[in-house]
């Protein structure tokens, strides 16, 4: 079984992005770029399934311009067998990203697709669910545990009420939550080895995917700031303060 893993290039989670003064976007110039943290977890899970003999090949895919090859190379260094870059300068919204993945799925025929639950730039949390819908296959979102046996996967999902377990027939789409695993560190020799692993570039235009029905972004603003607070010097003063504000 092949596993396809989505890898999105995003501003590193430690970087605090700022909105440009004219409201035209966020300033990401020179910001450190990384693999979306949830996608690193997705790749780690796929690698573990390969190491357990359940998967035979792990393919990482990124949709974006040539700069995302950097994240694909990191994915190869972590242990993916090969990489696909779908080349486009357009920042695709989730529906088109899902359609693009579906086009690649038709060629690659993976038994499992693992994506992150959300990309931490746009915080959309849509692509996996959309891909599963278009592919007419099961979705197991927000996974914190995955067990694959034969042609089904049993997935524990982090839901508001606790932990929900569902069973899905393969092929299926799984999206990852933070507690699924802890991704491995990349070792230097693996970075060298990754340079020789195959990285295929497919032009987005070649896939005949329609990029329509987009949501328009009109304006960017910084979040509202909270008024500066006060410091108290004892628990008793804290309780007095809360009581005077009618909170206790």
């Amino acid at each position: 079984m092949k596993i396809l893993v989505g890898i999105k290039r995003v501003v590193d989670f430690n970087v605090r992005v700022r909105v440009k003064p004219d409201g035209s976007g966020v300033d990401t110039d020179g910001a450190k770029m990384s693999i979306n943290p949830f996608d690193e977890i997705a790749l780690e899970e796929a690698l573990r399934l390969r190491e357990a003999g359940i998967a035979s090949e792990v393919i990482v895919i990124s949709i974006g311009d040539s700069s995302c090859q950097q994240q694909l190379r990191t994915g190869l260094a972590m242990g993916a067998d090969r990489a696909i870059q779908v080349d486009t300068d357009i920042h695709l919204q989730p529906l088109a990203a899902a359609r693009t993945m579906l086009a690649v799925i038709e060629t690659e025929q993976p038994g499992l697709v693992i994506l992150g639950k959300q990309a931490i730039d746009d915080d959309n949390n849509q692509t996996g669910q959309m891909l599963a819908a278009l592919w007419n296959r099961p979705q197991a979102t927000f996974a914190s545990k995955v067990v694959v046996a034969g042609d089904t996967a049993t997935v524990t999902r982090e839901v508001d009420a606790g932990l929900e377990t569902i069973e899905v027939d393969l092929p299926a789409v799984i999206t990852t939550d933070l507690r699924l695993n802890t991704p491995r560190f990349v070792k230097l020799p693996d970075i060298m080895k990754a340079k020789r692993k195959p990285l295929e570039v497919i032009a987005f235009t070649e896939l005949a995917v329609s990029n329509d029905n987009n949501i328009q972004i009109d304006h960017y603003a910084p979040p509202a700031v909270r008024e500066k607070g006060i410091m108290v010097d004892s628990a008793a003063a804290l309780v007095t303060e809360l009581k005077s504000r009618g909170l206790l």
Partner: protein, 311 residues
């Protein structure tokens, strides 16, 4: 005029408060508001939905296949119903986040995630980059708007309404490739985080699962819900459903008290809508003090008993 369909969230017995919040967002959008209730035997739930004021019709869709809230079985029928509406709203709970994009894809549109505010019937505000930027987005007139409503940004709609009830028989396919196995909840009987008026949270500073007992004890004294940082969840001090933040629950209590939480941006995102934020941390440089309304520097293990004594 806009016609808005809300997909109700419930646990099989009771309507979730998130549905009433979607109604508030729909009222702000303007238009006729209907609620679809997918359930196995949910007449009670449909009845509760019909009492939300501002709603004119409840679509009651019952089938044994809906005994668990699986996106794969609900989405095809919801997408069919959507043909009669300009807007389809669901909550930004894990239920809505799982379901709504599947509906959007079947209709062939992108989703507006996490509506914080409505600017006009087709234009909305939503957060990106963990709340570091707020964007105004608009959806072109020829597209159905599918959206999730950010729970923490909206009050629950009032009750006192009396919407009409329409029974509807589902005709779309209900695939069997996805099957519910079980739901394990560890919640107990403390107030639900997303509706609690007071929330007490603990972070890595608690140091162990056993030490968390002092947080529970204080919460019980104050009738508060209990939350945690991701570090506390990762270290297995508490179960996952207590995590507050970008990837946990986004909450908006009147009072939020954080003990031993440093204030990472991912955590702050989840508490920014709280009325008053109180932080107790032994490190006076901890970033949580930048957002706290009231801060106290000190050892939480000494301070908690002192708070209890002063109550």
């Amino acid at each position: 005029m806009s016609k808005i369909l809300i997909i109700a969230e419930h646990n099989g017995v009771e309507l979730n408060n998130s549905t009433a919040k979607c109604v508030s967002c729909a009222i702000a959008t303007g238009g006729e508001i209907h609620i679809a209730v997918f359930s196995a035997t949910g007449n009670e739930i449909a009845q509760q939905a019909s009492e939300l004021s501002g709603v004119t019709e409840i679509i009651n869709i019952q089938s044994a296949d809906y005994s668990h809230a699986l996106a794969t079985t609900i989405a095809p029928e919801a997408a069919l119903l959507a043909a009669d509406y300009s807007h389809v709203y669901g909550p930004s709970s894990t239920y809505g986040k799982d379901l709504m994009p599947r509906i959007a894809a079947l209709i062939g549109v992108n989703q507006v995630s996490d509506i914080m505010a409505v600017k006009s019937s087709r234009s909305f505000q939503r957060p990106i980059y963990a709340g570091n930027a707020i964007i105004d987005v608009s959806v072109p007139a020829d597209q159905t708007i599918v959206a999730t409503v950010r729970n923490a940004s909206w009050p629950a709609a009032e009750t006192g309404g009396s919407a009409s009830m329409r029974e509807h028989t589902a005709t779309a396919e209900r695939p069997t490739h996805t099957r519910f196995v079980e739901l394990a909840s560890e919640g107990g009987d403390r107030p639900d985080l997303q509706s609690a008026k007071r929330v007490i949270s603990g972070g890595r500073g608690l140091g162990s699962q056993e030490n968390f007992a002092i947080i529970y004890a204080l919460a019980d004294k104050l009738g508060a819900g209990v939350g945690a940082s991701r570090a506390a969840v990762d270290a297995a001090y508490v179960p996952n459903d207590m995590q507050v933040g970008q990837t946990g629950k986004i909450i908006s209590p009147d009072l939020y008290i954080a003990f031993g939480i440093s204030g990472a941006i991912q955590h702050i995102t989840g508490i920014k809508d709280a009325g008053t934020i109180v932080a107790i941390n032994k490190d006076s440089e901890a970033p949580i003090f930048e957002v706290a309304d009231i801060g106290l520097v000190g050892d939480l293990f000494a301070i908690i008993p002192e708070i209890e004594a002063a109550l």
